[in-house]
Subunit: 173 residues, 2 copies
Amino acid sequence: MTAAATARLNDVNLDAVVGLATRIQEEPDAGATTWRADVKWKGAFRSEATVREFGPVPSDEPEALGGDDRAANPVEQLLGALGNCLAVGYAANAAAAGIAINDLDIAVEGDLDLHTFLGLRDGNAGYEDIRVQVYLDADASQEQLDQLHAKVTRTSPVGHTLSRSVPLQIHLA
Amino acid sequence: MTAAATARLNDVNLDAVVGLATRIQEEPDAGATTWRADVKWKGAFRSEATVREFGPVPSDEPEALGGDDRAANPVEQLLGALGNCLAVGYAANAAAAGIAINDLDIAVEGDLDLHTFLGLRDGNAGYEDIRVQVYLDADASQEQLDQLHAKVTRTSPVGHTLSRSVPLQIHLA
């Protein structure tokens, strides 16, 4: 480990990340992970997603869409997941590169046409495109920042999930 | 409106949904929507996503991945968003079809190989596949349930976003 890592640059536990990477290099099967969320419908357009031991996170729709507007809706949650994923990528890869992050904000937005969701026509019910603006204040040269950005976008789990076509099996039990 | 809709079957405000659909049929541009989430990095792998006026929702990574394990991670949030989206789809389309839902639980899981995220090889950092089991208790025939299921999966905004390749632009400001 470098001195920077030992000092927990960006507060990142780089030892744990490097330890996991080393273990997966020695034992490739350890890289195969399965993640899970359980959703419970609560009436109307309200539901809750529970992950592991964490408390349930509410979901709803705006009133214009027929909801009670008590929480972010699923397509907004998806954008949040992308931003959160990129934040992890920046923190981890900056720490590995010895770059201190002072501040990091990520604005995510996406365009979606409601015709298909509302059953008015067949087609794409999902996002047509998603745009992200990353506001990064870090102690590094522009070249270092560009390299960091390239690394993060090349390795983002949520980014790849969205930019690729993922096989989706939905079964009614 | 049917009597069932007036009685708010499944507690769904079908009047609002039908009203929106009617407006978009008359004025197709009204179907074009833009959604947004703003993410703020909080140190280490912790961040928060804020949507509209709702309180920030925390994100973290498990300790094995170098996090402090205080919240669901981004790839888990994405699965939750899919389950929540399907719940809305079932509630809305069941109400429109006059089907009362007694109970609805949705289990979502996905497989993801960590090699690319950890920089050990190029490739797919995202989900390789996502599987959903829908546990629906509703007052309807199997044929009605199969039709409902087909309609929901054909019109899910998050489902389509995942099963299609979405253009993703990530800019470092």
